[in-house]
Every structure is written in C-alpha cells, then in structure tokens.
Symmetry: C2
Subunit: 172 residues, 2 copies
C-alpha cells in the first residue's frame, strides 16, 4: 500500500511489493491473485458480514433498518483500518481500472444485501431497491469520511446518510 501511494498503482510491480513486505513473489501469489487483489482482498469478508448482519437483525426490524445495521457494522470494520482505508481510497481514486473494480465491488455488495433481504421475506422490487439505496447512502457517507480531515466516525456518517434518505425521498 505504501508503494502504491509513493509510486502510483501502475508503476508498482509485484516484485517490489514482495520485497517491501519481505516475502517472496511466490508467497505473494499464494495470498493474492494479482496486485489488484491487495486492495480488494477484504471484499468477501465485507460481503459475508453484511449478509450475516441482515440475517441476524431482529424480526421486527424493517428492511432499511436491517440494512443500516449491517452497513454500520461494515463501517466499523473500515474505520478500524483507518489510515489504510484512506490510503487505499487515494490509490483507487487515481486509477480508472481500480475505480471500475470498486464500482463492481459495491454493485456486488448491493446484490448480496438484496438476496439477504429476500431471505427475510422482503419482496421484489422492495428488496433490490432497499439494498441499492443502502449502498448509495454508504457510498456518499464513505466519500465524506475520506474527504473530511476531521476524520469523523464512519458508522455514524453511514447512519446519518441512511436516515437522510427519508427526507430526500419525501422531497423535503
């Protein structure tokens, strides 16, 4: 990650990453399929966390609240990685291919959330709509978090963003 920030993603080789991490290239490739994977290896864990939290939400929770709880939990994980998450975002923002990959990741998280909602007997199109707008609110909150030097609490920004959906949708 340091190398990506120093030199840019394109100009960093796997050999250099391995050297910096004091591992062999072979070890690198045992952990990551390619150098993009260094940045996206957490995606599956994040998806599993979202699915789990939606499934575990109380039966009385409305779909949007189940999604909010799940995304706040994801926000807490990202917040914990703090500086790493911000650096990662800077590297991604500087590279079109990585920005695309990030969009795909978000789209797949929305797909996973929609499926988790359907498991709770939420019907279509409400399940997809709730999942998609939840991810939209997450995206906006995440961008605010990355940009704000004051480093506000990410789970709280996510909660605010989802709560603000109500005013937005009501046309206030």
């Amino acid at each position: 990650m340091e190398l990506y920030v120093e030199r840019g993603f394109e100009r960093t080789t796997v050999a250099e990453i391995a050297e910096r991490a004091e591992v062999t290239e072979r070890t690198f490739f045992r952990h990551f399929a390619d150098k993009r994977e260094v940045l996206f290896s957490g995606s599956e864990a994040l998806r599993d966390l979202l699915i789990e939290r939606v499934a575990d939400a109380p039966k009385t929770a409305t779909p949007i609240h189940a999604v909010r709880t799940a995304l706040e939990a994801a926000g807490a994980v990202i917040q914990e990685r703090g500086e790493w998450s911000r650096r990662r975002q800077a590297v991604i923002a500087a590279n079109a291919e990585l920005r695309e990959r990030e969009l795909i990741k978000l789209a797949s998280l929305a797909t996973a959330l929609a499926e988790a909602l359907r498991q709770r007997d939420v019907k279509e199109p409400a399940a997809s709509l709730t999942a998609e707008v939840g991810i939209s609110a997450f995206k906006v909150a995440f961008e605010r978090w990355v940009q704000q030097p004051s480093r506000r609490n990410l789970p709280r920004l996510i909660r605010e963003s989802i709560d603000q959906l109500r005013a937005v949708a009501a046309g206030e």
Copy 2:
C-alpha cells in the same frame, strides 16, 4: 447489435459489423472509437438530457422530484428504442467487461445529476445522496422493464420506483 446477439460480443469483429451495416471499417471508426462504443454511444446524450431536465424543473420542484422528472424523460428515450434497448441489455449482461462499463456509465450519470442539483443550490451531501438514490431507483426499474415480458411502460416503472423510495426510507 444483431451480430452481438447472434454471436456474442467477444466473437464479433469490427469488420463483420461494418459489413452488416454496409459501411467500410474506416466509416465505422469515424463514428465509434471501438466496438464497445456501439453500445455506449448514447451515454452522453442521456447525460445531457438529465442535466437539462434537472435545470429546467420548476423552481418549486424538490430535488427528488427534479431527479424523477429527468429520469422519466431518460426512460422515455430508452423506451422509444424498445427492442434495441432490450437486446443491448442482453449483450451487456453476457459480458463482464460490458457490465463494468455499464456500471461506470450509471456512476457518471449520478455524478452529472449531483452537479445539476448543486446548480439548483441543493447542498451536499443531499445533492449526491438524491442523485445516487435516483440512479439506484432507475437501475431497479430498468431491470424490471428488461425482465418483464409484458413490456410495461419504462417511465412509469421509474416513477413507481422513485415513489417507492419514500416507503423504503420510512421503513414501511
């Protein structure tokens, strides 16, 4: 487009497209940068339409209503192309690279909508949030339209989808 449906996007060459369209390859490349462009050449017109409609919405229109009006207008354009739009979607759905490109297109439409809302003095993060959830609702409506053999009216599906945001956000 016929060729993409018949053979798949990967297996279609520019030479074949040009032949089917009865133009030379040179003419093809005067109109399109590459064969992907055949599928995405309408993106800019769509973006311009969204910006224009948001700008032209009555001053009394709330942000979400300005966005709804704009997306309904975009839906009407897509609906007009009817069969072409559905075939295009089938080609895109079958190819990972094209699905990514479609996600990028939607993200850039959301960025354009957010900027158009800021021009109407909508503050951040409300502008980005409204734009992102509007595009989310559009995406869900579009998928329903593509899947439903009954070929329902796309602008109406978009309107329903955006109106449903209110119930989703309120946790109903």
